[in-house]
């Protein structure tokens, strides 16, 4: 009875945070505040922790970890246990996070899961909120962590994890690029076919088109390379600009991510540049954002 009730609920609640693997956290931290405009969170456990909204943190610059990971909130203990069972049965490797690991993630409990590609995903319970309001380092107009792009070299099995086990919905596809929704928004996670694991980009929502364009000129004036955009996704409707961050990481600002109605069916878009940007911007340096190449 109880497992039935749990399995009928969509276990995913929200995209919580990104833990970014960096070799030189101090330089990356300067980028996080001076360029991205995030707020540093002083605390005893993680020296390079940042906020973007009401949550206690949405970005952790993790020195000395092998790979970046993302945190996704699960509805409750029952859902987490059910997901753990299903993942183990489905051949995914996972382990319970230690108390120290939970502390560093500012959550009460976490399962550290590996998808079929080798991306690390934390399924977490009760991520911390902050009582204090968000106060950004600069006027970038950030309203919160919005989405991540993940590389996938085993898209079928990665999709099995996200949809069958975790209950995410495929909302649209561009070639094999797959947009995944977990709440009312068009997507929170996008899987990009690739030959390796990792994050394609980390996207922060901003409050207006003005903010996207202002940030576009802001980064260009500081000799930061714009990798894709300013552009607009015909799938999600969002206006975006993606730019180079420290150590090869890519960040993005986005505005206008559409809501998905209950009757939405996933659409298939052709594998060409105009399916990723209807304005006509092209991405020269990131293979995963060149759909003609990835099929």
């Amino acid at each position: 009875m109880s497992t039935e009730a749990a399995s009928s609920r969509i276990p995913l609640v929200q995209l919580c945070y990104v833990r970014l693997a960096v070799a030189e956290p101090q330089a990356a931290a300067t980028f996080a505040t001076d360029i991205l405009g995030l707020q540093h969170v002083p605390n005893k456990l993680e020296p390079f922790l940042f906020r973007s909204d009401q949550r206690y943190h949405t970005l952790c610059l993790a020195a000395g970890v092998q790979r970046s990971s993302i945190g996704v909130e699960i509805a409750g203990d029952r859902e987490l246990d059910a997901a753990a069972e299903a993942m183990a049965a489905g051949g995914f490797s996972l382990r319970e996070a230690t108390e120290q690991e939970c502390g560093q993630r500012f959550v009460r409990r976490a399962l550290i899961v590996e998808d079929a590609t080798g991306n690390e995903i934390d399924l977490v319970l009760r991520p911390a909120q902050s009582g204090r309001r968000y106060f950004p380092s600069r006027d970038a107009g950030i309203t919160g962590l919005q989405s991540v792009g993940l590389r996938s070299r085993a898209i079928e099995n990665d999709l099995r994890l996200w949809t069958t086990i975790l209950g995410a919905k495929v909302t649209d596809r561009v070639g094999e690029v797959t947009y995944l929704g977990i709440d009312q928004k068009h997507h929170r996670v996008v899987l990009y076919p690739s030959d390796k694991p990792g994050l394609v980009y980390v996207s922060y929502a901003v409050e207006s088109m003005d903010a996207v364009m202002q940030n576009n000129y802001f980064v260009q004036e500081r000799q930061i390379k714009v990798m894709h955009g300013p552009g607009r996704e015909p799938t999600s409707g969002q206006i975006f600009v993606r730019f180079a961050g420290p150590e090869g990481h890519v960040f993005s600002y986005g505005f206008g991510l559409n809501d998905i109605g209950p009757g939405h069916r996933p659409r298939q878009f052709t594998a060409e540049a105009s399916s990723l940007c209807e304005w006509g911007s092209e991405c020269a340096d990131i293979a995963e954002l060149q759909p003609a190449l990835t099929r």
């Binding site: 003005d210 364009m213 802001f218 006509g280």
Partner: protein, 281 residues
């Protein structure tokens, strides 16, 4: 007072009509209304033409404004004559070249060639663009000025223009509810500073940015947003150095009685609130 009702057209001398046609259709995206061999009439909305390229000196540039009727036109001619602006009444063949019933030509204090016209022709056929630029119509002009304060007085005191906002001493002036129809731009000589067409959406401004960049059209300013009118814009260069603008979302002055011109500082952020920098001058 000379009451300007609307902008009517721009006439531009072209050093090479073929180049002008190629730019107007492939880049700007206007529809050819008529081609005579010596002139190219281009449409941007339901009017028979709003831009005319004619074989001639590229510095020969004229802006046409519509006035109510012939009696208003005659009164305007008398006013200008009194103020010492020599007035030329259009001959029937000159009227035919402009597709208007009647017009008078004169120069503003800077020396810009202005024409006041009556009954400019409309077309029964709807506008059908040569490329999907989203153009909804010819909307305003930038006019060079050698003395902004003097020219502001001319346009607001002799004519019915009202100042909507100022950037430094540069006035943006309206003749109807649209934020500005005449934008003064400081320059050393007379001439049209830019020709504006409105487009449907933000998307169109940005799509054209990539389209025109791909066509190797020099982008001279933007994509950006004017804090004065609120319009999102893109400026780019056409044949003989003429600058064209696409924009969308220009404010309307809702309350004519209570609107007070705002003063913006003469600095880049008064021209673009996004942070784009003009490549001109």
């Amino acid at each position: 007072m000379i009451e300007l009702k609307d902008l009517s057209y721009v006439r531009l001398g072209a050093s090479n009509l073929e180049d002008a046609e190629s730019f107007a259709t492939k880049c700007l995206g206007l529809q050819i209304g008529e081609e005579t061999g010596k002139a190219l009439y281009l449409r941007s909305d339901d009017r028979a033409h709003t831009l005319c390229y004619f074989e001639g000196d590229p510095s020969d540039q004229t802006v046409g404004f519509e006035v109510e009727d012939e009696s208003k036109l005659n009164a305007a001619a008398a006013t200008l004559d009194q103020l010492g602006h020599p007035v030329h009444a259009g001959t029937p063949s000159e009227c035919a070249l402009r597709k208007v019933k009647a017009f008078v030509g004169f120069k503003d204090p800077t020396g810009n060639q202005i024409e006041l016209v009556v009954r400019p022709e409309r077309s029964g056929k709807r506008y059908f663009a040569t490329r999907d630029a989203g153009i909804t119509g010819f909307s305003h002009v930038g006019l060079s000025t050698t003395d902004p304060a003097r020219d502001e007085r001319f346009w607001t005191q002799v004519c019915n223009a009202r100042v909507s906002d100022r950037i430094g001493d540069i006035a943006l002036m309206r003749v109807n509810a649209i934020h500005h129809t005449i934008a003064l731009a400081p320059g050393r000589a007379a001439g049209i500073h830019h020709v504006n067409h409105q487009v449907e959406s933000n998307d169109d401004v940005l799509r054209s940015y990539y389209h025109l960049s791909g066509q190797r059209v020099p982008i001279v300013f933007g994509p950006g947003r004017h804090p004065t009118s609120g319009a999102r814009f893109l400026y780019f260069q056409g044949p003989d150095g003429m600058v064209f603008e696409y924009s969308v979302g220009v404010d309307e002055i809702e309350d004519e009685e209570t609107h007070r011109p705002r003063q913006f500082g003469f600095e880049p952020s008064s021209l673009c609130m996004w942070g784009s920098k003009s490549a001109r001058r």
